[in-house]
């Protein structure tokens, strides 16, 4: 995992995501999720390319299920884009990088 990808937890979610000044991309994932492994390197790349512009991090749904259920995540990988504390857009399933950046660009 790239050093530019943060680890979000139920403890730091509020401070790191909800109160963030910059938009945040949250990758909801789990060890047992095959498509999550596919998308992980893409999320890494995006974290580096959008450094300073977008905060990027991962949230393990096994360990922090309450956050996942709070945002209605019912399928992973799910990428939720937060802006000013609210979900601005979301992408469910492993999709190619250009799809993610397209949606990300439209939000930020």
């Amino acid at each position: 995992m790239s050093e530019n990808v943060k680890e979000f937890t139920s403890d730091n979610f509020s401070a790191e995501v909800i109160e963030s000044d910059t938009p945040v991309l949250v990758d909801f994932w789990a060890e047992w999720c095959g498509p999550c492994r596919v998308i992980a390197p893409v999320v890494d790349e995006i974290a580096t390319e959008y450094l300073q512009k977008v905060k990027v991090g991962k949230l393990n749904v096994d360990n922090h299920n309450q956050v996942a259920s709070q945002y209605g995540v019912r399928s992973i990988p799910a990428l939720l884009i937060f802006k000013n504390g609210a979900v601005a857009n979301q992408i469910v399933g492993a999709v190619p990088k250009n799809k993610i950046t397209e949606i990300l660009d439209s939000v930020i």
Partner: protein, 307 residues
Amino acid sequence: MNRKVIIIGSGPAGLTAALYTARANLNPLVFEGNQPGGQLTITTDVENYPGFPEGIMGPELMEKFRTQAIRFGAECHFKHVTKVDFNARPFKVWVGDDMFTSDSIIIATGASAKMLGLESEKELMGYGVSACATCDGFFFKDKKVLIVGGGDSAMEEANYLTKFASEVKIVHRRDEFRASKIMIDRVMNNDKISVIWNSSIKEILGSKEKGVHAVILEDSQSKNTIEENCDGVFMAIGHKPNTDLFVDILDFDSAGYLITTKGSTATNIEGVYACGDVQDHVYRQAVTAAGSGCMSAIDAERYLENN
């Protein structure tokens, strides 16, 4: 740069073709598609792939396939082919606006889960509607879910879902299952599972914000409809080959699978080969897909030698 081989797809067939063509110094370019690793990446334990006596997780097996192909020089890209032109040589393949050319093509696009075809189903996919119990079952802890289908995969997924869900109902349009006896027995002996016979889903009710809350079921005989409450709907109604790219270009059988010459992987266009589930509605196993991927690689290699 013109390629010798482009492989479309990255399941067991595509990656075995990549391994063999890479070892033959053909420097294959693999377009992995929207689901790199293919259908095995949404399964858990694979217990029938030879060489793994303890079983292996589907995603892990596919990582090994990929690593092995790359070790010999295969180039794998997480990109989805959007258009092909096999009329002139070299063959042309597009990913969006980027065009690639190749002397031979190996098609290993596999198959995808069939859906019911409802607007509400498309809308709520990932928000309570799922085609993968092993991926999404986790999110339905202590919830009530429906599973649609009557084959082995429906039985397997129903059983799997009882690990999480408090109640699982199988919705089946006929009055008997086509699944194997052992799988039916497992379902019938599971207290959490019940069956709604002779019924199909006409509508899925819910929203992206709140998820699914019910479905409208129609009785296949009386045509009466009822509302059935549930928190999730899982589809297990079979698979369809991924052939949209090749309509009007390659020959299909009546079920929509690509036709290959018996005893080979040749399609109706010389230099274009097909392997794995996209051309096989009979066996559809990881090991048979890998076997036919190897055949495609050898077929392509011989074609390139002679042309």
